[in-house]
Symmetry: C2
Subunit: 206 residues, 2 copies
DNA sequence: TTTTATTTGTAACTCAAGTCACCAATCCCC
DNA sequence: GGGGATTGGTGACTTGAGTTACAAATAAAA
């Protein structure tokens, strides 16, 4: 794992020291649920390594994808909920082994006043999540499933920095709140158009 | 119009004085566009009276509703964009004659450090908008049009504190990104189930 | 009072996408 | 290697909702 100062290079040195002093580094195995619908949140997390999936669970247990948290990012919701100690609407879980830095909620308010770089970091966290949600609304409100699938695959490839998506059709269907058959059909069409090559548990982008 | 101190009673007196000193009160006629997609934002707004519709415009000019800003609320986006001076993804316009207090963006950052009540106000503005977007995603991703229509009518009634919605089917269709015929059909069904009474340009909730 | 524009009602059609049913291929583990 | 589990392919059917087309009702304007 890289150094905290490298991952959060935009934060000023004095703040990084405080973060190191007050935060607890925790490594979480893949697939662990970090936040459950309706759960009370008592600390925020900065992602150091790995990746966290933020999603909404529907009635059938499908995990409708909202966005991913990557190293160098923080959970906007935990910061927001902090202020109100209100129930969160969404869930979060690790997709791979993930190292996070847990920061007590009290520190967040304190640092906002003391460190300009923290203030800007928190605001930009909000803004990025806000944008991400606007984008998601765009997708579900205006796009058809074929466009959404295409967008999903490309984003997934970009985030993981590879052009092979190692997911089953079922998993993709759940993240897009669709059904396996629909995704299989659309992927077949994409293959016929030479946009992808299909393998078992893997989709290769061309 | 009520007093600023009454509308924003959660803000501390010293801050209210500063707001009055630095802000400009502006009354805007109904239907005026306050923020256009891609436009640069140079000041934030606190709503004193009236109401502002925040929406996304689709290709055909339909105004897909995101949420309404009411007296006592502020535009979260303008605050977010402020920090980054980035283009906004969405549009805003007055639905009726609206009085706002324009505050230069520079003040926002300044007050965050100086006034705890401002800090909490801004954060709660973010959180409320975030919640609103999550709710919207819920609607478009998981609900059918009949449920969305029902939800829409009830919310509209609640906001305007009346059980008569003074809108044409066409207007409703645009805000839900649907078509007039679909809304007419669904409303007819609701009337048959004794959920509403239909009038010209008005829908009465029972 | 005509004329015109707006609003609403409805039937018929189309299409995207979800569901059902079933099968084949592949993997995994005992 | 055999048997169950997971994954993927495909046809047939259903449904929600958008589209086309047209008519009736009402309001607004001339």
């Amino acid at each position: 794992m890289e150094n905290i100062a490298t991952i959060f290079s935009q934060l000023e040195p004095a703040l990084l020291e405080e973060i190191t002093a007050n935060g607890v580094i925790k490594t979480i195995p893949a697939g662990e649920i970090l936040m459950r619908t309706g759960q009370f949140i008592k600390s925020t997390m900065l992602v150091l390594e790995g990746s966290i999936k933020v999603f909404r669970e529907n009635e059938d247990g499908g995990e409708f994808l909202m966005y991913y948290l990557q190293p160098g990012e923080a959970c906007a919701l935990s910061i927001i909920c902090a202020a109100k100690s209100e129930a969160s609407q969404i869930m979060a879980k690790t997709v791979e082994e993930t190292t996070v830095l847990m920061v007590p909620l009290g520190m967040i308010d304190k640092w906002m006043l003391e460190y300009k770089s923290w203030y800007h970091f928190v605001l930009s966290t909000y803004r990025n999540r806000f944008d991400e949600l606007l984008n998601l609304i765009d997708q579900v409100a205006f796009r058809n499933m074929d466009e959404r699938l295409d967008f999903y695959l490309k984003r997934h490839a970009k985030i993981n920095n590879t052009n092979t998506i190692a997911l089953s059709h079922q998993q993709i269907a759940e993240e897009l709140n669709s059904s396996r058959e629909v995704i299989s059909r659309l992927l077949k069409k994409m293959e016929q158009r030479n946009m992808v090559i299909l393998h078992r548990n893997a989709i290769e982008l061309i």
